[in-house]
């Protein structure tokens, strides 16, 4: 019960943030780009909840708007990495011959710490939002491939899959109808974690000055700019950072919660309960 509540809280935070950032132009009292030199580096107050930055811009408005890029990058990377990872993982797990080649490539890609691979790729491609999405997708999908592959290998030896195979059902049908639904839960869990990791990685790249163009507000860019003012105006650094923590934490909680609810141990109890209901009806 408690876990369900936790999942719900995490999901609400994410939805709220998404809606807030999409509709920001409508409800924000101050435009995030509005520069007022007279109101530079003001601490948090009733008017400026998160204070103002060195241009006199509202940090709250900037933080809300910056969520757009961060969430877009995170979500797109999660979706792309999940699709690529699932396809390669399914192929590797299902076909022995392809397995060898795919897994050697994956092993090679996993030989780079993921942030390093992303850095190298951004260095080569240049730092636009699209290139960052490409670079991060490339760094995160090998993990998904591994997870899907091992899940497929486990399910592959289960009897009903064997039965389907020997009774002449074609491979694409076996994969899509029998294998995929059974490996869906680790995919969803890992996808959620990739979402979280991609947000952190995008922020790190921007912070290092090799990410999204500095004029676009992202949490990483805001933190990069705020660095010099940290001792005189710490709020410019604190709030965008907190925004990252809250978003990533919500995603991690969701992933952890989903993993728990997909856990076979937890499921067993539920099954028992269902059986009982059936016998009750039967009697």
């Amino acid at each position: 019960m408690l876990k369900k509540k936790r999942n719900l809280v995490a999901l609400s935070i994410l939805l709220l943030l998404t809606i807030a950032t999409i509709t920001a132009d409508v409800w924000l009292p101050v435009s995030p780009g509005f520069i007022d030199a007279a109101q530079r580096l003001l601490p948090p107050s009733g008017t400026f909840w998160f204070g103002t930055d060195h241009f006199g811009r509202d940090v709250f408005a900037l933080t809300v708007v910056a969520a757009r890029v961060s969430l877009t990058v995170g979500f797109t990377v999660a979706v792309l990495a999940t699709i690529l990872g699932t396809i390669t993982g399914l192929i590797a797990g299902y076909y022995k011959k392809a397995d060898f080649i795919i897994m050697r490539v994956i092993d090679g890609m996993l030989a780079f710490p993921s942030l390093l691979l992303a850095l190298a790729l951004v260095a080569a491609l240049g730092g636009s939002v699209t290139n960052i999405i490409i670079a991060l997708t490339f760094s995160f999908w090998p993990v998904m491939t591994r997870i899907v592959r091992s899940a497929v290998l486990q399910i592959n030896s289960v009897q009903y899959i064997e039965a389907a195979k020997t009774s002449g059902v074609s491979d694409p049908v076996v994969i899509s109808k029998y294998v995929l639904p059974n490996v869906l839960s680790p995919i969803i869990v890992q996808g959620t974690f990739i979402f979280a990791k991609a947000i952190l990685a995008e922020a790190a790249l921007s912070f290092l000055g090799v990410g999204v163009d500095p004029s676009t507000p992202t949490w990483g860019n805001m933190l990069q700019e705020s660095q010099i003012y940290i001792s005189i105006a710490p709020w410019i650094s604190i709030f965008p950072g907190l925004a990252i923590v809250v978003t990533v934490l919500a995603l991690n909680m969701l992933g952890d919660g989903l993993r728990d609810s997909f856990d076979p141990h937890a499921r067993k109890n539920k099954k028992r309960k269902q059986h009982f209901v059936k016998t009750k009806i039967a009697s």
Binding site: H275, K278, S283
Partner: protein, 339 residues
């Protein structure tokens, strides 16, 4: 020697409190073999683990009642005292020999650990005793096997090693939780034979948990039948096999293949699922699955009543009523078979 009085083991889970063992009492004398039978989920394994307080945690287990060993209640004694009893007075072997030995330590070291945990003996003396024990349980070439790791043993051999570990402290009671379930049939017979010879040699009392009535017939002195966390019938082997007056026991026996059965006596599985231990049926717990259930069974939760010397059963039907219902059922079954 060992007496269980009103033992209740409740487990806290997310879905509610599981009453895994619900008011169970019995006793065992030296040299005696008691078998506890029941389907999976009947609470028999939790009962066995409760005696030595070896239930896994999490979840949280709350045993209540009394477990009297030589007059002391094991639920009240200190952690230290309990440790002295474990392995030294009461020992336990488990269902799956493949996973019950620690894979990263040598078999000899695990056996010697058991010996030295209760006797302050030198390593050399402990090794000598380990060799004796391995010989006792029928492990060939024990000197060499001491240095092997568990994965180098077969399932049957591992169960022998585990029995040796259990015997290391010369216990008075040996609890065996489905010790043969994970083994091949031929190995099963060997392990049972080994347990019997050990009992003869040391006078150990044995509590054997099983769902295999064949095993019961081979080895038991007395039998406890468990259902839904309770004992629903207890008595001697012949009480249970030939004079049972409890529909659940009878159904269990009906579901067994028999050499003398003909076509009209087909195997009859017990209908439905074992009762849910969180949200249990009203009245008699077996009532939803019972072929003889009446309206009264929905109301009354029967307690154990004496049916003969040392033979107790929990059913509202009298012996005569039960016999009549049984006959009626068999006649109907035969009719069905003819059709």
């Amino acid at each position: 020697m060992l007496e269980i009085k009103n033992l209740k083991t409740y487990i806290d889970t997310e879905n509610g409190t599981v009453k895994a063992v619900d008011d169970v009492s019995f006793q065992i004398k030296a040299g005696e073999t008691i078998c506890i039978v029941g389907e999976s989920g009947s609470g028999k394994s939790v009962l066995a683990h409760s005696i030595m307080q070896l239930n896994p945690s999490p979840p949280a287990f709350h045993p209540e009642g009394e477990i009297l060993f030589e007059g002391k209640n094991l639920l009240d004694v200190s952690e230290k005292e309990l440790r002295r009893v474990r392995g030294n007075e009461i020992s336990m072997i488990f269902q799956d020999p493949m996973s019950s030995l620690n894979p990263v330590f040598r078999v000899g070291d695990q056996l010697i650990e058991a010996i030295r945990s209760h006797e302050k003996v030198s390593k050399k003396a402990a090794k000598k005793r380990a060799l004796e024990l391995l010989t006792d349980v029928g492990i060939p070439d024990p000197e060499r096997r001491l240095h092997d790791y568990p994965h180098q043993f077969s399932g049957g051999m591992r169960q022998r090693v585990l029995i040796a570990i259990a015997l290391a402290g010369r216990p008075k009671v040996l609890i065996a939780d489905e010790p043969t379930t994970a083994l091949d049939v031929t190995i099963q017979a060997q392990i049972l034979e080994l347990m019997r010879s050990i009992q003869k040699k040391y006078g150990t009392a044995i509590i054997l948990i099983t769902h295999d009535l064949g095993v019961v017939a081979q080895i038991a002195d007395r039998v406890l039948v468990m259902y839904s966390g309770r004992i629903v019938e207890k008595g001697s082997v012949s009480d249970i096999f030939y004079r049972s007056t409890m529909p659940y026991t009878w159904s269990l026996l009906r579901s067994l293949p028999r050499i003398d059965s003909d076509a009209s006596n087909r195997l009859i599985p017990i209908q439905g699922q074992p009762s849910n231990l969180i949200d249990r049926p009203k009245g008699c717990h077996f009532q939803p699955r019972c072929p003889f259930a009446t309206k009264a069974c929905l109301e009354i939760d029967p307690s154990l009543t004496e049916r003969g010397e040392g033979h107790w059963a929990a059913c509202i039907l009298s012996e005569e009523e039960f016999f009549n219902k049984k006959q009626e059922f068999e006649v109907n079954a035969q009719k069905g078979a003819v059709k």
